[in-house]
């Protein structure tokens, strides 16, 4: 251990970058060099990184596909949709219950199809002669068996190639049924370069086909939507608990623990709060343009971040009653959080982490680690875009390449009847003067220390090298990375699905996370890797048997 510690000091970030690139063929090295950034961020300007570009064939990537982003991530957590995967069986099978997004369907008569997997299971004859007939029949069978309020169709790779018109089938069936909203997603896996394209396709269709469908008034005060929260390990439950305690009404979560009706009523909220910037910021924009609802970036990962986000919401609504209640809730929740933190801190302080996940968690979770004195040596996203690294100011300058071009951008206009700016210009201006930021996200880079290494679309080879060189106390990524890292003797926490356990959001979540990280980085287990005779192979003495 002592020798490796010493080694660590000798590596400069530039050395490390060089080491990561050394083995690649020149073309690959050139490409990867632009996605590996040594952070020299000063306070308000982030250096440029290349992101949201294709993965090099043959490189073992962490990324998945557009279908996974669409069906798995965005629509997976909505319990009363019948989600039919149109394609051969695999895609539907693998996305069946594997993401740990929880749902509360305990209400009397509540519908919950999340435990089911529906597929058209295309066979060779469907590929040769087209699968529209089978799809139509499958939709009919689903309708006859379940009578759901909505059926969603998801295209997998072959469907796009053979040219099935899933939208035409959906329209036909929707019109035929009359009481069931059937709509479709062209989320073939080859579109785009990662799951991110799938998020976009999913959100566009939800916006087009569902949002605004229910004009009934919703009860409650201080109405918000929570955008980009997927209730993994019950995060959404905890956030909802805290919001409720504060007196804030959550109309719709996109899409953790959600229902069709939540989406349909989303235009009834007065503020949109964006958690995962990557997967959904454009929906916030569209909701603003069409219905006049402003949006802010929030973060409920980390106790301090939670408190800050609650205060931000209260400040937006600006009413004393809410402001006081939020303060009361924070005052009530924080002591027990602090108590756990104080207990854990002596054991975690000074330890180090690496985070390579998704499109926002690699940023958000740094707050939680910081709360227990742990610094982040290296981080990056699996499928984020430049704005998630460098901040939203780069959006106007983003290059539109062939892969982004095939993801539809909706043209949104103000709704002629329902557009309603939630606050007069002057009031918004006053808030902004007081430092309140709408539509604002600074990205991950500026929050990270100088000299840290930021890597986009990290792959297995680079991960292994990084861990060997920097020996972090914990590494965070997804299931595919988990065991190769752990074989190296470094604990690995999944931050997509959390392995097990959670929630980690909100106040209770912070406590859970502190304890979980304490368990991982201080576990005895990692000390058992070598047998005594491996540690001391020399036979220094012999027993004298008496």
């Amino acid at each position: 251990m002592a020798t490796t510690k010493k080694k660590m000091v000798q590596w400069t970030p530039t050395d490390i970058k060089e080491e990561l690139l050394k083995k690649y063929p020149p073309k690959v090295a050139r490409k990867r060099a632009k996605q590996i950034l040594i952070n020299e961020a000063n306070d308000n300007e982030a250096p440029e990184i290349v992101a949201n570009v294709r993965t090099v064939p043959g490189i073992i990537t962490m990324r998945g596909c557009t279908y996974a982003g669409c069906k798995g991530v965005i629509l997976g957590p909505t319990r009363d949709l019948v989600n039919i995967t149109h394609g051969p069986i695999g895609c539907g099978f693998y996305s069946w219950l594997t993401r740990r997004n929880q749902t509360d369907a305990s209400a009397e008569g509540a519908e919950n199809y999340m435990n089911y997997c529906f597929s058209t299971d295309m066979h060779d004859e469907d590929i040769i002669f087209g699968g529209e007939k089978k799809l139509e029949k499958a939709i009919q069978e689903a309708y006859d068996t379940f009578h759901p309020k909505s059926i969603a169709i998801f295209a997998t790779c072959p469907v796009g190639l053979i040219g099935d018109d899933i939208h035409a089938v959906a329209t036909k069936m929707r019109e035929k049924f009359g009481d069931c909203n059937v709509f479709a997603f062209s989320c073939e896996g080859y579109k785009g370069v990662s799951q991110s394209a799938g998020h976009h396709i999913a959100n566009n269709q939800i916006f087009k086909h569902v949002v605004g469908e229910n004009d009934e008034e919703k009860a409650g005060e201080y109405k918000i939507n929570l955008l980009g929260e997927y209730n993994i390990g019950g995060d959404g439950f905890e956030i909802d608990r805290v919001l409720k305690k504060c007196g804030i009404t959550n109309i719709a979560t996109f899409s953790g623990n959600s229902t069709y009706d939540q989406f349909a009523s989303a235009h009834k909220a007065d503020l949109n709060c964006v958690m995962c910037h990557r997967s959904i910021n454009y929906v916030a924009d569209m909701l603003e343009t069409k219905f006049g609802i402003p949006w802010i970036k929030v973060n409920f990962i980390g106790a301090k971040a939670t408190a800050k986000s609650l205060r931000k919401i209260a400040q937006y609504f600006g009413e004393k009653k809410l402001i006081d209640q939020v303060e009361a809730v924070i005052a009530e929740e924080m002591p027990s959080v602090e108590a756990v933190r104080d207990d854990v801190l002596p054991r975690t302080d000074g330890k180090t982490a690496m985070l390579f996940v998704g499109g926002s968690r690699a940023h958000h979770y740094q707050e939680l680690f910081a709360e227990i004195g742990m610094s982040t040596l290296s981080a990056g996203y699996e499928f984020a875009h430049r704005d998630d690294y460098e901040g939203r100011q780069v959006i106007p300058n983003l290059k539109v390449d062939a892969d982004s071009r095939n993801i539809e951008e909706l043209e949104i206009e103000a709704d002629p009847e329902r557009y309603n700016p939630r606050k007069p210009e002057a009031e918004l201006g006053k808030l902004e003067e007081a430092g309140f930021k709408f539509k604002h996200y600074d990205g991950l880079v500026t929050d990270m220390d100088k000299g840290t290494i930021i890597i986009d679309d990290l792959n297995q080879y680079e991960a292994e090298k990084l861990v060997e060189i920097l020996k972090p106390d914990i590494f965070c990524a997804g299931i595919k990375e988990k065991f190769s890292i752990q074989k190296l003797g470094v604990p690995m926490k999944q931050l997509h699905s959390y392995d097990s356990g959670g929630p980690y959001a909100g106040f209770r979540g912070a406590k859970n996370f502190y304890k979980e990280i304490d368990r991982l980085v201080n576990s005895k287990i990692w000390g058992y890797m070598k047998a005594p005779w491996q540690e001391n192979p020399e036979l220094s003495a012999t027993y004298v048997w008496e």
């Binding site: 695999g90 895609c91 590929i127 790779c157 072959p158």
Partner: protein, 457 residues
């Protein structure tokens, strides 16, 4: 209720599959390829398939599963994936340095019509395959068959590496089929015990049940080597365990290299293991030592000791054809009654075989190939069972219907053990019975009224 929308009444469905009892070909090909020493499986298609297959295998084995992908985007999907694959081959040999790349196709590359053979020839011509390294391939369109078919296709590609020198190597080829690494280890142990020199392929033992030692090797010690695969053409014979998983490869060796083959059931349970040992002995011309009879006797002992708890208990089964056939025979042999049996893999032969095995059972039997778990659940609702045996997804049915459940098959995402403890052979039979008894007797202890609750069972 977890599956609250599943109605008792069964209606015809022929377009919509609900809760599948199978998955797609490439994952089987990937698993088989991991049983080649120094092999990196490669998925020729978009990166999503590969991500899904790796994730599922990782969750099942709790071990790193490395595999690469051609990462198709729209362009490759339209113009073909040759450039992607050649680039991938070059990158893989440069960065990961495997001995072998085992490429399998996906729905996407199959629909486009990419020709693996032709691409490999091009890669060789372009000098992208280093001296002494190999690229092998299998066509695995998921719109045909199931994960079992994909496994079988890759195993056949492994057999096709055989080269015949004309001199017999004195070994018996054993193709184990899609069983766990622990099972492969057990098959090797049994063969050694009987005194037969075998070439087992694929062999994932030592690959997917590795130790934690502070070191990570992308290519662990285990796996059938390319040299061993080459020499399968010189074997004295081949035993293929399982018609669905292994027969194609064995028959290919038989017809191409005149290595005589025998297709057996997978050695789960007493009789199937008996037949396996007997076939091994005959193929190699050896006498079976007493240790084997001793192990066998222990299994018979437990069968008789606990027979009262097995007798006439109804069981629902879901899984893959080869496993289910052997399991059905085993259950019937201890007077348990498998009454609902579903596989997602197509094949009328399966239904016929199950009907034969259950012909003398006192209850009516429902069996379906190309069925799904929704149907199985409906059958259970109409005719309840005492036990469910199947993969992890069964736990939703087991909980809703309050039925004891033994996890066996693929995938098992929520328990461990299958990596380490075999269920093949006589010892494996003991483990299966132990698991079944545990489930049944735990339930009895939970449910027996206080006045009849008993210490000794």
């Amino acid at each position: 209720m977890l599956l609250r929308h599943t109605p008792k009444e069964i209606t015809e469905r022929d377009a919509l599959v609900i809760n599948p009892a199978k998955t797609c070909q490439p994952i089987g090909a990937m698993y088989a390829a991991l049983g080649i020493h120094g092999c990196l499986p490669h998925s020729h298609g978009s990166q999503g398939c590969c991500a899904y297959h790796r994730s599922t295998l990782t969750r099942h084995y709790k071990e790193p599963i490395s595999a690469a992908t051609s990462s198709f985007t729209e362009g490759a999907s339209v113009f073909g994936g040759q450039a992607n694959l050649i680039q991938a081959i070059n990158n893989i040999f440069s960065v990961y340095e495997p001995e072998v790349i085992a490429v399998h196709t996906t729905c996407l590359s199959e629909t486009i019509g990419d020709d693996l053979k032709q691409i490999t020839i091009k890669a060789t011509k372009d000098g992208k395959i280093p001296e002494g390294k190999h690229v092998i391939g299998a066509s695995t369109p998921s719109y045909v068959g199931s994960h079992v078919t994909g496994f079988s296709n890759m195993v056949k590609s492994m057999a096709m590496q055989a080269e015949k020198t004309g001199t017999k190597n004195g070994k018996v080829n054993v193709i184990p089929g899609w069983v766990e690494p622990s099972d492969m280890e057990e098959i090797k142990r049994l063969a050694a015990l009987v005194g037969v020199d075998i070439t087992l392929f694929p062999d994932t033992s030592g690959v997917l049940n590795g130790p934690l030692s502070g070191e990570y090797h992308m290519f662990p010690e285990g796996g059938t080597t390319m040299t061993e695969l080459k020499s399968t053409g010189d074997a004295v014979g081949t035993l293929a365990l399982g018609e669905w998983c292994s027969a194609d490869a064995a028959r290919w060796l038989d017809s191409t290299h005149k290595v005589p083959c025998k297709v057996l059931d997978m050695p789960f349970g007493l009789s199937a293991t008996d037949r396996f040992i007997d076939a091994l002995r005959i193929a190699a011309g050896v006498t079976v030592p007493d240790e084997v009879a001793h192990e066998r006797g222990q299994l018979v002992d437990m069968m008789s000791d606990m027979h009262q708890y097995f007798y006439n208990k109804k069981v629902a089964l879901v899984g893959d054809p080869d496993q289910l056939i052997a399991m059905t025979e085993f259950l019937v042999s201890i007077d348990m009654c498998p009454v609902h049996i579903v596989t997602g893999t197509p094949g009328k032969k399966f239904e016929k075989r199950i009907r034969e095995l259950t012909a003398d059972m006192p209850f009516e039997v429902n069996v379906k190939a190309a069925g799904d778990m929704f149907l199985l659940h409906q059958w259970i609702k109409n005719d309840p069972v005492d036990l469910i045996i199947g993969n992890t997804y069964c736990k939703y049915i087991a909980r809703d219907e309050d039925i004891p459940f033994v996890r066996w098959g693929f995938p098992i995402l929520d328990r461990v053990g299958h990596q380490y403890f075999p269920t093949v052979g006589y010892k494996g039979g003991l483990r299966l019975l132990e698991k079944i008894l545990m489930a049944l007797l735990d339930r009895k202890d939970r449910d027996d009224p206080e006045e009849t609750f008993e210490l000794v069972l």
